[in-house]
């Protein structure tokens, strides 16, 4: 009994550990997409945040200063995305791709120039890292709880506040919002900034809490898994959270199953489990498991009539 409990506890902890950056990114992406701004640049924002978080934590000696720097870095990219997509009405996907590529290159370039360790930051020790709060073996640092909190908070903001109502409206029909005398631009900028805040936290989690320093490409596609979770959750906070947990659990299982032979099946290819989030999302998008409908104005720049 005790053994079963500890197994379940470890699996839950492992799932939450993996799911935390996904949850934060997915909630951030939700704000952006609900307002009509597609964000394929979650990955890049998270990567940039992870780098600046670790770099600042290592130089300043304080994990929380690192977290703040991570958020600033992600917000800078969020503003760039907003500037290109909202102010200049550029293609949102192109802007997101550009941000991903810039982040992938810039983190290594700056890391190498500042620390001369092939793109890595020095390993973080002691107070430079966020530690577990209650269960030393579970890795339950403060950002894990913030991620759990972000889900009801996102739901409440989107579903229950005036800002959320307008946010949903601007993602469905910006013309109506504009006609009501509310600034489409300002609404969308606020959504993009909220997205940057959460993606920044996710990045800080990777390098300052879960990991102990930055390594090149350390996000490894998690921003895209978060994007998949948003689609899987059909652009709703709690279902998206569920998708993140499911993807996190898959990852935890994949780590457990590495090289293990399951009776009757043989060795389960770990790569298959790692690819499952993407495959499942493809099945969903193909309309085999329900239908996922994006906000109607997502991806379309709003042009104010003169």
């Amino acid at each position: 009994m005790d053994e079963a409990f500890s197994f379940v506890f470890l699996m839950v902890a492992a799932t939450l550990r993996v799911a935390t950056p996904l949850v934060l990114c997915a909630m951030g992406g939700l704000f952006s997409e609900k307002s009509g701004i597609i964000d394929v640049g979650l990955e890049g924002k998270m990567l940039m945040a992870a780098f600046f978080g670790a770099a600042t934590a290592s130089v300043s000696g304080s994990a929380w200063v690192g977290v703040a720097a991570a958020i600033v870095a992600a917000e800078a990219l969020a503003l760039l995305h907003g500037f290109a997509c909202i102010t200049w009405r550029g293609n949102q996907v192109v802007s997101g791709v550009a941000i991903n590529i810039i982040a992938a290159g810039l983190t290594v370039v700056l890391g190498n120039a500042w620390f001369a360790r092939g793109g890595q930051t020095p390993a973080l020790v002691g107070d430079q890292r966020l530690m577990s709060l209650f269960f030393p073996t579970a890795g339950d640092n403060a950002i894990v709880y913030l991620a759990l909190l972000s889900v009801p908070a996102t739901w409440w903001i989107i579903e229950r506040t005036r800002f959320g109502l307008r946010l949903r409206a601007v993602g469905e029909m910006p013309l109506a919002v504009d006609a009501a005398g509310i600034s489409v631009t300002w609404l969308r900028y606020r959504a993009v900034l909220l997205c940057g805040l959460l993606a920044g936290l996710a990045g800080a989690y990777l390098s300052v809490a879960q990991g102990a320093g930055f390594g090149r490409d350390m996000t490894a596609g998690q921003g895209f898994i978060a994007l998949a979770a948003i689609i899987f959750g059909k652009w709703r906070p709690f279902p998206a959270f569920g998708a993140c947990l499911m993807f996190g659990l898959l990852d935890a299982i994949a780590i457990r199953l590495q090289g293990v032979k399951v009776s009757g099946i043989g060795e389960v290819p770990v790569q298959l489990i790692l690819a499952l989030p993407y495959l499942l999302t493809m099945f969903l998008l193909a309309g085999f498991i329900g239908r996922a409908v994006a906000p109607k104005a997502a991806g379309i720049p709003y042009e104010k009539e003169r």
């Binding site: 192109v94 550009a98 190498n112 001369a116 895209f224 790569q271 690819a275 493809m282």
Partner: protein
């Protein structure tokens, strides 16, 4: 001010604006290089020297250019159909698998002059097949290729790791790579090919795949601007409703555009595996699929522009490697930053200089 803003004359729209956009990207890189503490002009000099300073470096520049032409054309064909194919990376990967499998299966039985065209066709077929699934999902199930091609990049990567580690790995090998291709599966290097006709160039990774790239440029140009299918494809990109009215089947046209795009991306596998590595290896697409977006945007999706852009990016790739060798505080990833900035300035922020340019030209003409 607003009254002055007439539309730009065509020459400014086609030539001046893109040049300004690229210049802005490079200016930003210059500032970045200076911030790192390196003199940008010194870096530029090293970069140019590294890219075209010797017969060997020119060879490498052209070898990188070959890859950029393939992925640039791939993105451009989809662009013309109004589709954004971000899946070049995965399509190149699976295309490489296709030509690799063809060579591994047949290199003991067939001579090179039959095997190589067969393997090239296999690369195109596999790349096209990998693009066909997202295309089918957009055409018939209404999901967007942007998302599905991203997902398929990751699926391709997982699939390749599985195949290389468990199935295709050469017996007794520690690293996940296939057995070496037989001599029939080798595309001759430029060094060897020119040597047979009496011209001596330094050995490099450049191989005859570059001829395939040039052929593809001509082919894409003929297809898009001189065939009824190309016309229908471009019409769909400009105005899908008009295309339907003109009798185009949007579903099959989406399939056609994406399959062509995937096939072109698949040729990266030909250059990399049959031209250079001589076996199937992991991670050979190395970002060329994404860089293709920058190439297509900078080349304005025209084969001629793409060749110019691919030459520039090829030179950057090669020169950047030299630069990183000479200056320890610089890394090759600087080239990745440049690619990203070009996508930003030539793509998402393409209209940034327009109002300024409009007022400038209006001032001059008044």
């Amino acid at each position: 001010m607003r009254a002055l803003r007439r539309p730009l004359p065509p020459w400014a729209d086609i030539v001046l604006l893109p040049v300004i956009n690229v210049a802005l990207a490079f200016l930003t890189v210059g500032v970045l290089v200076a911030l790192i503490g390196v003199n940008p002009l010194h870096a530029l000099k090293l970069l140019i020297g590294g890219a075209i300073g010797s017969s060997e470096s020119i060879g490498y520049t052209l070898y990188y250019t070959t890859n950029f032409i393939f992925t640039g054309l791939a993105v451009a064909v989809a662009f013309h159909a109004g589709l954004f194919n971000i899946g070049g990376e995965g399509q190149a990967y699976i295309g490489g698998l296709g030509c690799g499998l063809a060579v591994l299966a047949l290199d003991r039985y067939l001579p090179g002059w039959i095997l190589i065209p067969l393997a090239i066709a296999a690369a195109a077929l596999f790349g096209a097949a990998w693009a066909a699934v997202p295309a089918w999902m957009q055409a018939w199930r209404g999901s967007h290729v942007v998302i599905t091609t991203i997902m398929f990049n990751f699926v391709a990567s997982a699939l390749m790791v599985y195949l290389m580690v468990n199935v295709l790995i050469a017996p007794g090998s520690m690293t996940p790579q296939s057995r070496n291709f037989g001599p029939a599966g080798k595309i001759p290097s430029m060094h060897d090919a020119l040597h047979t006709i009496g011209i001596n160039v330094a050995p490099s990774a450049l191989n005859l795949s570059i001829l395939l790239a040039i052929l593809c440029c001509v082919g894409v140009w003929v297809f898009l601007w001189h065939t009824p299918w190309g016309y229908a494809l471009r019409t769909m990109g400009h105005n899908p409703e008009a295309a339907v009215y003109a009798g185009t089947n949007l579903k099959s046209m989406t399939m056609l555009a994406m399959c062509l795009s995937g096939g072109l991306a698949g040729f990266v596998g030909v250059n990399e595996l049959m031209g250079v590595h001589q076996r199937i290896v992991l991670d050979f697409p190395a970002g060329y699929g994404f860089a293709g977006i920058a190439v297509a945007l900078m080349g304005r999706s025209h084969p001629f522009g793409i060749v110019l852009a691919a030459l520039l990016f090829g030179a950057l790739q090669q020169g950047g490697a030299e630069l990183a060798f000479e200056i320890p505080s610089m890394t090759r990833e600087m080239v990745v930053v440049i690619q990203g900035l070009v996508i930003l300035f030539s793509g998402a922020l393409a209209h940034l200089p327009r109002p300024w340019l409009q007022s400038l030209l209006a001032l001059r003409s008044s």
